[in-house]
Amino acid sequence: MAEIKRFDNRLGLWGWLGGGRWGLERYAYILHRLTGLGILIYFLMHIVVTSLRARGIYLWTEGEILHRPVFRAGEFLVFAAFAYHAFNGIRLVLVELGFAVGRPIEPVYPYRTSLNVQRPLLVLMMVAALALLVAGGYELLAWEQ
């Protein structure tokens, strides 16, 4: 079995948190990971809480705790993270599969970066994420009224 060559991440956490001057797409990728981690933490708790309904316990409809503004705000953040992660994820899959990065060209000086070719896709996906956020987030925040 072929082994994947791996390199030491000498920078540790900063190795993937720091975007440096790698452009907007790099920061979009960092935010993708952070939102992914946030969604994962919520998702693991969500499985446990919703599983209680098999015992007739509907924790999210009972009591006052989960209806407090702080939980509403938290739910909105999860929804925002989902909207961003979903559409940016589609962008990452498309780029990984070679779409929207332009045709390969000879590396002739002055070099051209493919990031400029990718930028419209990033903008398109962010607009889609924002549209979803406005549509879904409005109801989430207005729920209490």
Binding site: M1, A2, I4, R6, D8, N9, R10, G12, L13, G15, W16, R33, G36, L37, I39, L40, F43, L44, I47, V48, T50, S51, L52, R53, A54, R55, G56, Y58, W60, T61, E75, F79, F82, A86, G89, I90, V93, E96, A135, G136, E139, L140, W143
Partner: protein
């Protein structure tokens, strides 16, 4: 080769989740579907509306699929992030085992709950 396969599954799972979780969000948290799957008055996540969905086989099956794909996608993503921190091989082994156990355990819990809730909803509907 194995890592490439895992990564491809990770991406494929992401695409499946995009549609399944998208539907889940539209039904539970937005009015965009006109509460088609929440026929009772009040919130889409109320007990009555939850039981209505739990009684439908389509929802039980989609919950189980979403659970499986999302657990794999999320935990594999976490594994990728952790492994990028250049852990010692022994620590990597422990991380891998913990994530697999966590994934299998939560998948088991979720499947049990989806089937249990469906059974309860069906009994409730019969009175």
């Amino acid at each position: 080769m194995r890592e490439t396969r895992f990564w491809t599954w990770h991406m494929a799972a992401g695409v499946v989740i995009f549609f399944l979780l998208g539907m889940h969000m539209l039904i539970m948290h937005t009015g965009l579907l006109g509460h088609v799957y929440a026929p009772f008055a009040g919130e889409a996540v109320s007990r009555e509306n939850s039981q209505f969905r739990d009684s439908r086989l389509t929802f039980t099956v989609s919950y189980i699929f979403l659970l499986g794909f999302a657990l794999y996608h999320g935990l594999y993503g976490l594994r990728t992030i952790l492994f990028e921190l250049t852990l010692r091989p022994a620590v990597e082994k422990v991380v891998r085992a913990v994530l697999v156990l966590l994934g299998v355990g939560l998948f088991g819990l979720g499947v049990w709950a989806a089937i249990g809730a469906r059974t309860m909803a069906a009994v409730g509907a019969r009175g």
